[in-house]
Each structure stands twice: as C-alpha cells, then as structure tokens.
Symmetry: C2
Subunit: 516 residues, 2 copies
C-alpha cells in the first residue's frame, strides 16, 4: 500500500512537472511572439523607411525561431504527454483548454511538410506582388496562374491536415475553429434571402439621404484629439495602449497591458478616421479585457477572428452608429467642429452616417450591404476549394453575383474580383469571419440590452462602463476557455442564429427609410 | 599528389564551412540583438506605462536566449575551430578581426560562472534601487554595504577573467578594449596638471560671462523643428533614423539603417535640448556610417565607448560650440526665435554657450571642468579596485578631490559621491571612456583640420559634408577592424596624446577669457 502510494505520488509529481514545463516553454514562446508583435507595430508606425529590409529579416529570423521551438522534439514530447494526461481526464478545465488548443495548433503545424510551408510562403509572396500589379492594370489574367496555384495548394493543405467531409472546413478552422462550412452556408443563405429583397425596398424608398453634409474641412490635430476622446470615453485605457497613425488601420497587441491601435486621417472627412477608430477600439477593448494572469496560455488569448470582429463591429455599428451614442457625442462634435455641424440637425446627421448605398467595394460598404459582399466571397471560395467552379470563370461569376445581390454592373476587375488582398495572401477561409462577427455581435448585443435594462439611456448619457463590464465578464475574460460556438450558447442560451442580425437591420433601416 | 590535393581541398571546404556556419550563427545573434534594441527604444519612448512589467520579462527572455545561444556548446565548437584557423594564419584580415573579437567576448563570458553572473545581476538591481533612495536622502551610509559588495564582486570578476598586473584593467577592457589603466593614469595626470591651474586662471579672469541671456520662452514645437533642422543639416539621415523624446537622451541602433536618437525639451531653455541633440547626432552619425554589408559581424560595429564618445563630443563641442558653427546657425536661431535673440550679439552668444563654471554635477559641466569630474572618478574607482582605499572613506576622499580640483566645498553626498548611477549599476571602468572620447576627439579633429583645408570656412557656410565623409572614411566605416589605439595611430600617425586636447582648451578659452 505504502509503496503504491509513493509510486502514485512520484507519478503525479512527474505529470505536474510535465505540464509545468510545457507552460514554461509556452510562456517563452508568447514572450517571443509579443516581441515580434512590437516589431510589426513599429514597422507600420515609426520605423524609418530604410530600415525595412533588415527589419523583415529580423522578423523572419524570430518567426523561424518560434516555429523551430514550437515544432521541436522537446516541445513535441511535452505536448504529447500532456495530451495523454488530458485524455485520461486528469486535467482540470483550464489545463484541458490549454492542452487542447496547443495540441490543435501543434498537430496542424506538424502535419504540413516543411517544404510545403516554404513553397506556400514563396508563392504567397510572389502572388501578392503580382496581384498588386494586376489590380493596378485591372487585369485578372495576370493574376490567374497564381490564384490557380494558390487554390491548388490550399486543397493540398486540406489533404495534409485530413478532413471528413469538406476540404474548405480545414481552411476555415484556422480562423474560426470548430465552425463548419455547412452551418455557415445555411445561416448565410437565410441572411441573403432577407438582405437582397430588403436592399431592393431601401432602393425604392422615397427617403433620400444626403451624406455629403458630413464632408468639410477638419483640422487634423483636432481630429486626433477627438478620436482619442471617443476611444478613451468608451473605455480604452491609454495607460495600457496607444492610438497612432498608419496607412491601414489595425490593432496590435503584445499583451493586455500593451494594446496599440492605429487609424488614418483625411482633412475633408472626419468619419474616415472616426469609424476606423471606433472599430479598432472594439478590437482593443477585447484585448485589454483578456486576463493578464493567463498571459502565456490560450486562456489569455482571444477566441477567433469572428469573436474579435463581433467586438469591433458592436462598437463601430451597433453602438457607434446608434441614436443613443450620438445623443451624447453629437453635441460634442458640434462644439468641436462648429463650422461643420452647427447647422445640421441630429436627425439628418444620424441618417447621413447610416446611408445605405450598394457599391462595388467591400471596405466602403454600409451595414446592410456589407454582408452581401462577404456572402458572395464565401460562396465563391468554397466552390473553388470544392472544385465545383473553375478559377478561369471567376470574373464572370463575380460579376453575375454583384448583379444579382446589388443590382450593379461591375465595370472592371479592379472594382470586382481583384479588389481584396486576401486570396493573393493565401487567406482562404478568412472572409466568412467578418459576417460571423456581425451575427455574433447582434446576438450578444440583444442579450446585453435585455440584461442591462437602462443600456440605451446610459449610452445616451455617455456611460459605457456597464456595457464594457458586461462584455468583459461574459466574453473577454474567458480567453479561449470556450470555442466561439460554445461561447455564443453560454452567453445567449442558443446557437448562432442570424435572426437577431436580421431583426436589427429590419428594425433600424425600416425606420430610417420609412419602410413598412 | 592527387590524393593529397583532394584531401587538402576537402579540408579547406570544411574550414570555410566552419567559418560560414559561425557567421550564420552570428548573424542570427545580431538579428535577435537588434530586436532587443527596438524593444528598449520603444520602452523609453512610446510604450504605455502599464506595459513595463511584461516588457521587462520579454527583454529578459530574449537576452537569455541570446546568451544561451552565444555560450552553447555548438557555438563554442565553431568559434574554437575558427580560432585555431586564425592562429595558423589561415584567415584574411577581415575574418581575423571577426574571430578575434568574438573569441574575446566568448572567452570572457565563458570564464564567469553562471551563478556569479546571476548574483551580480541581482546585486546590481537591488543596489540601483537603494542608490536611488540613498541619493534622495543624501545618505551614503544606506548605499555603503551595497557598494562594498559591488567592489568585492568586481574584484572577484577580475580574478575569474585573470589578469597580469592590474585587476582594474579587466573591468576597463569591457568598455575600452586594449587600453591599460597605467597609460590612462599617465595621460590623465598630464591633463589634470594642466586643467587645475588653468581653471584657476579662468576664475581670476576679469571677463565675466552672462549666460542668463540664453534663457527665455521657447515654444516646444518650434524647438523640435529646430533640433531636427540642425541634426539633418549636419548629416543625420532621417530616412534611416528618428529623433524622439525621452526622459534621458540616448542613441539606439538596430543597424546602420535604423538609428534612433532622443532628446528632451524645457520651455525656458533651448540649449537643454540642443546640446543633447547635437551630442546624440554625433553618436548617431557614427552608427549610420557603419557598414551595412558587414551587419552581423564586429566589422559592422562601433569600436569602443571611447571612440563613440569621440564622435558625440566632436559634434557637441569642437564643432557645436565653435565660432564657425554659429556663424552659420546663429542668424537662423535669431530668425526662428527673434524675441529671444535679436538683441544679443553673436559674440555674447558665443561666450554664453562657452561659459566655464566649476560645479558639483558632472552632467552639467562645461568643456574645461568636465574632464576633472572624470579624472577624480577614475582615480577613485581604480584605487577601490586595487584596494588602496576603503569604500567607507569615499565621501571624505570625494569631497577633498572636489576641493582640490574645483575649489568647491561639497555640501552633501547627493551633490557629491552619490550623484552618478554608474557604480550602483556595476559600471566600473566606464567613466574613463568619457575623457578618452574627448582626447581622441581633439586628436582626430586636429588632423581633420589639417587635411580639410577649408574646414572652418565650410562649417561657417553650413557645409558639413566634407567633414562627415572624412569621419566616415577614416573612422566609421572600419567597424572593429582596428582597436581604438590602432585607429588613433592609423588616423593621426601617433599614439593617444593629451596635448591636442590641452592645446585646444588653452587656445579657445584663453581667447574667451582673455588670458595670457
């Protein structure tokens, strides 16, 4: 008996040692990644231009180091042993989450041959360059051979990883783990079936909105101040983050105590910066709300691109384009920019920032049409990966979808199939996360409004604390403890359901466009 | 014959492979160090304050990684084999430089037991904290036990490394390789023998300089512009570097194409920022002048602290406080800050920026008294390490030297022995490099003036290109190909000689103070 007890004790210590050692190694990997993160930020924001070449090499060197450490036999041994313990049910909930997620990443990375990864990286680098040129010239044929090769290699990737039903699921899994393309197809179809006819109604509405009233002359220094004011007011902690300028807005995070957003400014358009800033603040609040104690494990990391986008979209649209929000901020904007806004009523302002206008370019789309841009990309890339359409036919397919969904004729490929950087960068399976974000957001926000009885009144008085703590408690703090689908069910009591987004759009825009 | 030839060929390939592999490993180490460099810069300049804790850990993690890589058995094997080749005379001049320098660093690092290094790091960290408190309270006794321990461990360090004659040489060697304390003692004595009586003469001069005329109200934005204007004008490449703000000015470099300086601003004092900026530009021009092709080896690195300081001091003092320099810039300063300077003659301005005034604080010292601050520190730390004075007696010794050299009575230890951060940080052997920098600078500048016949005229017309190319060609581009003493001899044709600095000071200040 005694001997057994000791043996068991010794084994338990060994097990714990293994897990502790795994966590130590992980922590080192996270420190290195957070260093790379600062290098990336610096590159986009403050690096002198001649530094770019050696910076790229420095980042490549560090990424290689991280990859080698993560896929080393030493690390492999640790994660494999931890997985065995997990499968025996010996780990608690938190440790199970850590081991499961790390195993998911590790086994995926180990399944791809080194040669394949290198070839893919080279192809993407070339394809991006060619795509930039092809877009400039609006010449799809230039890009065609590269896109063909990318689709081919992405199908190969799915084979290396191994799939049951649909190769596209394997690609999706990188950005939105656990979600299957069949579910997405169903949900997106519901959404499309609502959006296409609804957009027709809006187009026929007698309400004509003039959003030119938003244009004017806005001193950049004052814009910067106002952007910072709004970000800080809705909860961004400037002692644990920054707001700077870069060509394309992004949010960069080393850890929850160092979260850096960027935006960009146009002298004639205050909302060019403001929309981006509120969107990025949504991302940044998520990152600032992650658990510092769990830094260095998946428990201290955001769940998925979709959940991330649910936070940015909630602040940008559900809140940042709502009447309540502007009840508080519009008088302040009028005070800061009197020449521009003193003669414009709050109602006309509200309508102008919510104008619905079908357009060719996804990144300029409004709340109603945005998801149609995503849905058509999802349909196309899924068909490409499944092999049911040919890459050669893309412009034709693209243009016919734009015609069907928006009622627009695409004038050229630069405004059509060549507009996004994603495919040239090998980001296939990425697009649907944008719309998933909108859907999650609607579903979360619906519950938030139910649980926070005075929410709209609070927003109208410039109080965002209750909403932010609600998001922190229900979403941010968990890290990856739940997958996206688990979180949605935990927070809202049901699975992902497009109806909340549909109702939100129907309600909001029926009022604005006086539909019935 | 044939067989022998093949054998030899095979061996040569193997040797080259070894050296190539060593260089590859080195390059990786330099990339990692350049990443750490960016993290340090960011920490001082833009990092949000809550990020400090995790940043410190990230830097520690990366430094540990670099140390482990550098002292690994794999790296050890490479450098040892390369050293054997070098000793057989099989390496060319450049490769010899690389192997010699890396061996110097490697063997030093390997001689110190890991436990000792850790203990030292802990002691320094504690001692710095205690020193900060002790300085606030002007209480040397608080700091005494820590300084005692530091001196003790520094003597132990010298023993671990091993020395022939003087343990202090071993400490000096970290900052100024190849220079021996006996030489420094001799040269510093000559300097002191000139400076102490010369300072007395200045004190007795009837010329009274009013430097209050430099004070005023200077808008920070305009100061920033003017600082950038001067830095750029004298040759700093803003496409390969930056000028930002931090509490203590410094120059940070990742590589010659990314060199970042900082300064700080006071509203009432333009020269508070300007002096620092010109000093840091001197450091930065050296870094921007290093060979990009040799990045990743000692051939792409600055020689020593002393040579670095020779560059910063040359621009700050020999040029930046010269009549010629201000012939060009003073009218421009008058134009930018008319309220402050329009009624002040160039002559009075020149005198004001060159006022000589003995003071307690080293960092506020003028060109004449500065080296006396350094000489007394050198004398004291050398005696401490040799054991000829006791740490307990420091305040007494310090104050009597200040009395002897400056004719001042030290009112308290905060203004005396506790003023510098160096000793608490374990930086013993560092101080002399400041004065070496001044001496090198005078000797270099003397030759530059002889070789560039119109130098002073050019400076007075705002042309700094010839001087900069001269510095690039003669000093910057070589990296560590020569040691400091070799470089001085190569450039000036003789060994380090204090007479050039003495002549420079005598000449300049005899005119200003009308001495004879």
């Amino acid at each position: 008996m005694k001997e057994d007890f000791f043996k068991k004790g010794a084994r338990m210590i060994q097990e714990n040692n293994n897990l502790e050692k795994l966590k130590e190694e992980l922590l080192e990997l996270y420190y290195l990644s957070s260093a790379v993160s600062v290098l990336h930020w610096d590159q986009e924001v403050y690096m002198p231009k001649k530094g770019s070449n050696l910076r790229a090499k420095t980042i490549a060197e560090m990424s290689g180091l991280i990859h080698n450490k993560f896929t080393s036999s030493q690390f492999g041994k640790l994660i494999k042993e931890a997985k065995i313990e997990m499968e025996k049910g010996k780990l608690d909930e938190n440790n199970t989450c850590i081991v499961k997620e790390i195993w998911r990443q590790y086994s995926r990375e180990k399944k791809l041959p080194v040669e394949f990864v290198k070839k893919m990286a080279e192809l993407e680098s070339k394809a991006q360059y060619i795509w930039t040129e092809a877009r400039k010239k609006s010449n799809f044929k230039m890009f065609l051979p590269y896109l063909k090769k990318i689709i081919e290699m992405k199908r190969e990737e799915a084979k290396f990883i191994g799939y049951n039903k649909n190769p596209y699921d394997i690609l999706l899994d990188v950005y939105e783990p656990n979600v299957k393309s069949d579910e997405i197809s169903l949900i997106f179809k519901e959404l499309k079936d609502f959006l296409v006819p609804f957009l027709q109604k809006i187009k026929k509405s007698k309400v004509k909105i003039n959003n030119k009233i938003l244009k004017g002359n806005f001193e950049i220094e004052k814009q910067i101040e106002f952007n910072k004011f709004i970000a800080q007011k809705i909860g961004f902690d400037f002692d644990a983050g920054r707001l700077d300028i870069s060509a394309h807005p992004f949010t960069n995070f080393s850890n929850p105590l160092d979260v850096r957003m960027t935006t960009r400014y146009k002298k004639d358009d205050l909302f060019y910066s403001l929309n981006s800033t509120i969107h990025e603040t949504g991302h940044a609040l998520y990152e600032q709300g992650l658990s510092v104690e769990n830094f260095g494990t998946p428990l201290g990391e955001s769940i998925s691109l979709g959940i991330h986008e649910s936070q940015s979209r909630m602040w940008e649209n559900f809140i940042g384009k709502s009447l309540s929000f502007w009840k508080y901020f519009y008088p302040r904007i009028q005070k800061e920019f009197p020449v521009n806004f003193s003669n414009i009523s709050q109602e006309n302002f509200y309508k102008a920032i919510n104008i619905v206008k079908p357009s060719f370019i996804r990144t300029e789309a409004d709340e109603v049409t945005y998801n149609l841009h995503i849905i058509m990309r999802f349909e196309i890339e899924k068909d490409l990966i499944e092999g049911s359409i040919a890459v050669e036919d893309l412009p034709k397919i693209w243009n016919s979808k734009v015609k069907e969904y928006f009622g627009l004729e695409v004038p050229n490929d630069a405004l059509g199939v060549l507009q996004d950087v994603h495919w040239s960068s090998g980001l296939i399976g990425y697009f649907p996360t944008y719309t998933l974000g909108n859907l999650y957001s609607a579903q979360f926000y619906n519950i938030a409004k139910r649980e926070l009885l005075n929410l709209e009144k609070e927003l109208a008085m410039g109080h965002f604390e209750h909403l932010l703590s609600w998001l922190r408690k229900n979403i941010h703090i968990h890290g990856k403890l739940f997958s996206a689908d688990e979180l949605v069910e935990k927070v809202t009591g049901e699975k992902l359901n497009s109806q909340y987004f549909i109702n939100y759009i129907k309600d909001k825009y029926s009022k604005i466009y006086k539909l019935n």
